[in-house]
């Protein structure tokens, strides 16, 4: 990727290895543990709630009938999302897997959006709103552009990039608002972005009924975009068009994911963004204009959210509908599970793609309410948020206490940093 620098020198590889071993491994361990813990708690919840439901045949324990089998629920959830690969007649390009990958693609964009902001130290809860606005921008732009651009292959090649760009711009501008409010009016971004989510819904539906409503439809939706403007599927190897999923979109998402990772690791902007996220004072000291960085990272974050909206329109629905599903909120879960690491977002998005798609299987194949998936999502975030919990469990069984460096010179040993405030006025 970095064409000028030649083969990757050993030292850098070593650096990467160390980085991975030190923090990334721990993160992965915590994320996996959190997933298991959430599944476990969810399973218990399912089992117990089964005693309140009514059913014809259940498990009788001490006079109580338990109607739900957690094992069955998770079987449907995880394998149902892949189209039941362990059962007969399975094909790779099945509908359930297509749904899973469709959700994965959207969640990669949403997760990246959240990750970019979180890494910059900004808790952007507003990806949902940015997605809603970006999606509408895409739908409206493509419908308008389609009227002046020839149809067919040319239309596909021109309209899709225009649509994605429109989504990015729409979401980016909408994301910039809380950035500006934070930078120049000191308004807490958590509150403003949550409020802007509600406002996005209001504004878009107002715009819709004012101007963009499809007169043909009873639903609150925009005019459908022409079929050739939808993301095309890959012939022969891809999933069929009816499945509303394209490998090209997933490929683009993965490319974008790698691009963001590269941005963080190898560019000045990425360096400044990460520094601002960890220690704003150090970033300011290092010549970063905090205000501009706040606006820039929120804009980038919003643009990624807008792209998620664009793909929701271009790949899934072919038009923009009111009541956009909560992809943006799930993006928070994805990013948190991924430790805000762009590459981790891919894996986490796939997991949540499975949850989303598997909830259909739960709904149809079991009596357990599919809202279980929402609870699981919350539980996963909750467990990921408390690494200390797993560290405590970890240290109880394995001694993984980090080796503290001993006193390395005549100066203040690290232990003294804990006993005396390092910023203290210690005149020697």
């Amino acid at each position: 990727m970095n064409s000028g620098s030649g083969p990757m020198p050993d030292r850098i590889r070593r650096l990467l290895e160390r980085l991975i071993q030190a923090s990334v491994m721990e993160r992965i361990a915590i994320s996996v543990a959190a997933l298991f813990a959430a599944v476990l708690v969810g399973g218990v919840l399912v089992f117990i709630s089964g005693s309140f439901a009514s059913c014809r045949s259940g498990l009788d324990v001490a006079g109580t009938t338990f109607c739900y089998n957690p094992m069955q629920v998770y079987y449907e959830l995880f394998l149902g999302a892949l189209g039941h690969p362990l059962e007969g007649g399975w094909s790779l390009t099945n509908y359930n897997l297509a749904t899973t990958l469709q959700q994965t693609t959207l969640l990669i964009f949403a997760g990246l959006s959240v990750a970019v902001a979180f890494r910059a130290g900004l808790l952007n809860i507003g990806t949902q709103g940015q997605l809603v606005v970006g999606g509408l921008a895409t739908a409206v732009t493509v419908v308008f552009a389609a009227s002046i651009i020839p149809s067919g292959f040319v239309g596909t090649v021109v309209l899709i990039p225009i649509g994605v760009l429109a989504g990015a711009i729409g979401g980016g501008l909408y994301g910039a608002i809380p950035g500006v409010l934070k930078a120049y009016a000191d308004a807490n971004e958590v509150i403003t972005t949550i409020m802007l989510n509600f406002i996005a819904v209001g504004i878009t539906s107002t715009l819709l009924s004012w101007q963009f409503q499809d007169p043909e439809s009873n639903n609150p939706r925009t005019e459908p975009i022409p079929e050739y403007a939808e993301i095309p599927t890959v012939p022969y190897i891809g999933f069929s068009g009816g499945m509303d999923f394209s490998l090209l979109a997933l490929g683009f998402a993965i490319a974008l994911m790698i691009g963001i990772a590269w941005l963080f690791a190898r560019t000045s902007f990425g360096y400044e963004l990460r520094t601002s996220g960890i220690q704003p004072a150090a970033a300011a000291y290092g010549g970063v204009n905090e205000k501009r960085m706040t606006v820039a990272s929120m804009t980038l974050s919003g643009a990624l959210g807008g792209i998620a909206g664009a793909f929701w329109v271009l790949m899934v629905h072919g038009s923009w509908l009111e009541n956009v599903p909560s992809i943006g909120f799930d993006g928070i879960a994805v990013s948190v599970l991924a430790g805000n690491n762009p590459l981790g977002v891919g894996a986490a998005a796939f997991l949540f793609g499975i949850l989303e798609s598997g909830s259909n299987s739960i709904g149809t194949a079991t009596d357990v309410p599919p809202e279980l998936v929402g609870i699981l999502t919350g539980l996963i975030i909750l467990f990921v948020a408390m690494p200390e919990f797993f560290r405590m469990i970890g240290t109880r069984y394995i001694d993984v206490r980090p080796t503290e460096p001993a006193r390395t010179d005549g100066g203040r040993a690290p232990a003294d940093e804990t006993t005396e405030d390092p910023r203290g006025a210690d005149d020697a």
Binding site: P9, R11, S268, D409, R412, D427
Partner: protein, 590 residues
């Protein structure tokens, strides 16, 4: 295990007897001859006369022994100094006494009774009060609320705090010890000296008989320090026992009845001030002879590099912190700014380095007006800055040294092209820095947070000095840094000066600014109260200036004339009542 052992001791023998056992163990384990000698010869009272007896305290942290078998005997009604360098384990020892830490070994005996303190609550109940170096006060609360915190008397069957009673009790205490503190004032509005008194009142309110003061003078002006000594006298006269932690020989010998020295977590003996001298104390403290000598040859100064005119800066609360300061710094010259922390130094430096916009005035740099320049532009123009707060500003703690080595240089053409960082180059640069500035351990991949303060500071200094700057702004460059690193940093500063770099040095260490500076400005309440030749001013005069007292015989006036308008004509007005006024414009260091 040790705890049960010592409990068993108490159970069987007399307290004095168990003390003997402790000492014997000291001998065997450490073999530190002088320690035992000093302890027994100069200070061998029976334990029942002791207000506090810490016996063989050992406290370990992961990887470090902070206290190693330390003994401390404090006579009732005395002032006892605990002397040692930073990191010698003084605060740790006192935290053990205050119940914040549980020692791995040793006994805590207060008032003749052995105690096990699980929490500060227990210590408070046993009559031990602690005044921390960083005051444990809630800024937004009133004096009365702070003093009573955790011990509030109540009325209406515990339903409500009995505020009248708190005020009454505080007034009684103030009368008794001669304090002048308004219970209804908000702590944030008080000067540091008064805040310290609030801390002392807080301990007294809880019925403390033993008061532990951690570095009580660190943030005080010399005049406030004198006031503190008076308070200590008053307290001991009323039968209270004082332990104070310090690393200043002067204070220990001046104020204490007895001094216990700590070095590297071990006791280096207890002495009575009359029977010792400073050299002996210093040697015990540092373990070798220290001489802070700086060879600063006079330099021929070049062109003006930095010039500030009529700079006025407001702090974050909108209060004027810097009021119309003028000065300039020439190439090959070190201009020092001395002053008690919180007199506007931080705001002034931030205005110069581009972290804060001055409300009035102009700053020129190499002839260009840079008042409105961003921090970025100032860095690019060759301004280096060693910040006061290395943990918040100077280093990104979770980043390793490689990443930290380009903080501020992340867009410099040396390390980045078209916004892409060439990490290979950066790594070479880091290796160079580590080698040249002797950063230990020499591990570029270790997180900044894992290095000791001295090494962190050396790394920052290296990064800033190797930037080929034309101006270096260094604030407290040796704060919290060990002696060896301090010397090294001083040498490097002088070397830069030799190379013709303009240097602006801010420090609260009088010896440092006096020794290094070519010209020395004293800042008080946001104004330069005087600009002097550091060689011609005595430490006493400097101390008075820092407290806002103008020197009557203006012998240094001539040196200010050539350095531009350094004195504000009206500065004298504010000079008199330092203690009460220091508070009014936010002159706090926290």
């Amino acid at each position: 295990m040790t705890e049960t052992e010592s409990e068993a001791e108490t159970g069987t023998g007399s307290t004095a007897g168990s003390g003997q056992t402790g000492e014997a163990r000291t001998d065997v384990e450490t073999g530190a001859g002088p320690t035992t000698e000093a302890t027994t010869s100069s200070y061998g009272e029976a334990e029942t006369d002791l207000a506090v007896h810490l016996d063989g305290i050992t406290k370990r942290f992961p990887g470090v022994v902070a206290n190693d078998n330390v003994d401390l005997r404090v006579e009732r009604g005395s002032v006892h100094a605990l002397l040692g360098e930073n990191g010698a384990g003084k605060t740790t020892l006192m935290n053990v006494l205050y119940g914040l830490y549980e020692p791995e070994e040793g006994r805590v005996v207060v008032d003749g009774t052995e105690r096990m303190f699980d929490s500060p609550r227990d210590a408070i109940d046993a009559g031990v009060g602690m005044i921390h170096q960083h005051f444990m006060l809630v800024d937004s609360m009133t004096v009365a609320e702070n003093i009573a915190l955790g011990d509030e008397p109540t009325k209406w069957f515990g339903m409500a705090v009995d505020r009248a009673r708190i005020d009454r009790e505080i007034r009684e205490l103030c009368d008794r010890y001669g304090f002048d503190v308004d219970p209804s004032a908000t702590v944030a509005d008080l000067s540091v000296g008064v805040q310290q008194r609030v801390e002392i009142l807080k301990a007294l309110f809880r019925g403390a008989d033993v008061l532990v003061l951690d570095e009580p003078t660190a943030v005080l002006t010399p005049q406030e320090v004198e006031g503190l000594y008076d308070v200590l006298d008053e307290l001991t006269a009323q039968g209270k026992t004082i332990i104070f932690i310090t690393h200043k020989l002067e204070e220990a010998t001046h104020a204490a009845d007895a001094i216990t020295i700590l070095r590297d977590g071990e006791s280096a003996g207890t002495v009575v001030p009359d029977q010792t001298n400073k050299n002996d104390l210093a040697e015990r403290m540092v373990g070798r002879e220290v001489l802070l000598e700086i060879d600063s040859e006079p330099m021929t100064t070049g062109d003006t590099v930095l010039s500030a005119t009529d700079i006025t800066v407001e702090d974050t609360r909108g209060i004027e912190a810097v009021s119309g300061i003028d000065f300039d710094v020439r190439a090959g010259e070190i201009v020092g700014i001395a002053g008690v922390d919180g007199n506007g130094q931080a705001e002034l430096i931030e205005a110069i380095t581009g972290l804060r916009t001055p409300d009035e005035g102009t700053i020129t740099y190499d002839g260009a007006d840079i008042t409105d320049w961003s921090r970025r532009r100032r860095i690019d123009a060759g301004m280096s800055y060693v910040p006061e707060d290395r943990h918040e500003r100077g280093l990104v703690m979770p980043f390793n040294l490689v990443e930290n080595s380009i903080l501020g240089n992340q867009r410099a053409s040396e390390f980045a092209t078209d916004g892409r960082i060439d990490w290979e180059n950066v790594r070479d640069h880091t290796d160079d820095l580590i080698e040249t500035y002797d950063v230990r351990p020499p591990d570029p991949d270790a997180d900044a947070s894992s290095f000791s303060g001295g090494n962190q500071q050396k790394f920052i200094v290296g990064r800033e000095f190797e930037r080929d700057p034309s101006l270096v702004v260094a604030t407290h460059p040796t704060r919290g840094v060990d002696v060896g690193s301090t010397e090294f940093i001083h040498d490097r500063l002088l070397e830069l000066r030799q190379q013709g770099v303009a240097i602006l040095l801010v420090s609260s260490k009088l010896d440092e600014v006096r020794a290094l500076s070519d010209r020395l400005a004293v800042i008080y309440e946001g104004e330069f109260i005087d600009v002097t030749d550091p060689d011609e001013i005595t430490e006493e005069e400097l101390g008075l200036l820092m407290a806002g007292q103008r020197v009557e015989t203006d012998s240094t006036g001539s040196s200010t004339a050539e350095s531009g308008p350094g004195i504000r004509p009206d500065a004298g007005e504010t000079g008199d009542d330092a203690e009460t006024n220091a508070s009014s414009n936010g002159g706090r260091s926290r």
